[in-house]
């Protein structure tokens, strides 16, 4: 995720590579070709970090004198402030459809997918973590399936990307968790079984900026 810069960047991303919400921001910065310094946060409850984000979570983002937290607020800020740098991820005029799918990611997609990825990949790797519980995994996978059915129908209804014809912030906001899920054993029945979701993921994950983001991740074994 760290971008070698000729001079120190005024942009700092506080986070770490295995935080999908930190990857959300790294992916966005790469789409826009913006350099930044990754500041790895070991202790999110340290006084130093709480001075940056009193809610004690990563990512946080510093741009000159401005400090922001909450990854979806950071992503809106970067997309708007730097819209003329790199890929413009916002439509020319505000789009209600874009707003809808930003919120769908936040309230439906992320909770379902993050919970599944947590049970399959994160919890078992914590100290003392037990293997995934099959009944829990099945229940979580069903929730993801229900959400992805709605995505498949939406993409099938003449939407090449979530907000319509153009790749936008709404698509970028999904990529870190989609990637995490694509590396689990449930990816086939969840993503591949939904052709429009699969085609959309194939297309957006082929973007050079995304490949650059992935190349910099220290990936645990799939």
């Amino acid at each position: 995720m760290a971008e070698p810069a000729a001079a120190a960047s005024t942009r700092k991303l506080y986070g770490y590579e295995l935080s999908s919400n930190s990857v959300r921001i790294a992916a966005l910065l790469n789409e826009k070709g913006l350099d930044y310094e990754l500041v790895v946060v070991d202790d999110t409850k340290s006084p130093e970090f709480l001075a940056i984000n009193p809610l004690g979570q990563v990512p946080a983002f510093q741009d000159g004198d401005d400090i922001l937290f909450e990854s979806r607020a950071i992503s809106r800020y970067i997309a708007a402030k730097y819209r003329s740098t790199g890929t413009d991820l916002l439509p020319a005029t505000p789009s209600a459809k874009l707003e809808v799918w930003l919120e769908v990611e936040s309230h439906h997609f992320y909770p379902a997918v993050a919970d599944l990825v947590y049970e399959l990949r994160v919890r078992p790797r914590l100290p003392g973590g037990a293997p995934p519980d099959p009944a829990v995994v099945d229940a979580l996978a069903r929730k993801v399936a229900d959400v992805l059915d709605i995505y498949d129908a939406h993409l099938a209804a003449g939407n090449r990307y979530l907000a319509g014809d153009a790749f936008t912030l709404a698509d970028v906001n999904h990529m870190a968790q989609l990637f995490a899920m694509s590396r689990t054993p449930r990816a086939g029945e969840l993503v591949a079984a939904r052709p429009h979701v699969q085609a959309w993921w194939d297309e957006i994950s082929a973007r050079p900026a995304w490949k650059k983001t992935v190349a910099a991740l220290p990936l645990p074994p799939a």
Binding site: L55, D66, F69, E70, R72, Y77, P94, V100, E103, S106
Partner: protein, 222 residues
Amino acid sequence: SSPVKVFGHATSTNVARVLLCLEEVGAEYELVPVDFLAGEHNTPEHVQRNPFGKIPAFQDGDLVLFESRAIARYILRKYRTPGSPDLLGENGGAEEAAMVDVWTEVEAQQYHPAISPVVFECIIFPVMRGAKTDQKVVDESLERLRLVLGTYEERLSKSRYLAGDSFSFADLNHFPFTFYFMATPYAALLDEYPRVKAWWEDLMARPSVKRVCANMPTKFCF
């Protein structure tokens, strides 16, 4: 032009969020009931408007939207008049809008998960399902809420409203669940955070809030 339509009922937290915005900008609207007990939220007609089968859904001419925060942003942009406040901070530049977005996300991702279980356990589940309050859930949520309110108290010592000196969408988004929280036995918790309490009373004094409150109950039978 004809009034916009909001599908749902005035007692719903997410419907109230949308109604508040309509009242703030003074737009005319029609509230179209959706009968949950009769399963109307699962009918093809409603699912066409909101594929997740939830309320609110929203219609403005040919445009149909779902997700209350997306609907809210649409209303605040389209129906803003010179007399109504710039609740999204979009006229103030990227930094001002960013602060509104940060604290809007804080409500959604930090405040809401802490406060809503108390409302669900003390009011919504008993009223809708005849369920008994799970005190363990309430106690754990109150502990989380105390931490969040601590950061809010600190924030409001530096800033008149959450996003800055002006009232914004971020403050507004706290209304629905906090309103119902104040009808639970735990309302006195806010007294421990005097700036938060003052901020809440300021919010409750807004004409738009008073109009929306009028249709939300404060006493419940279960």
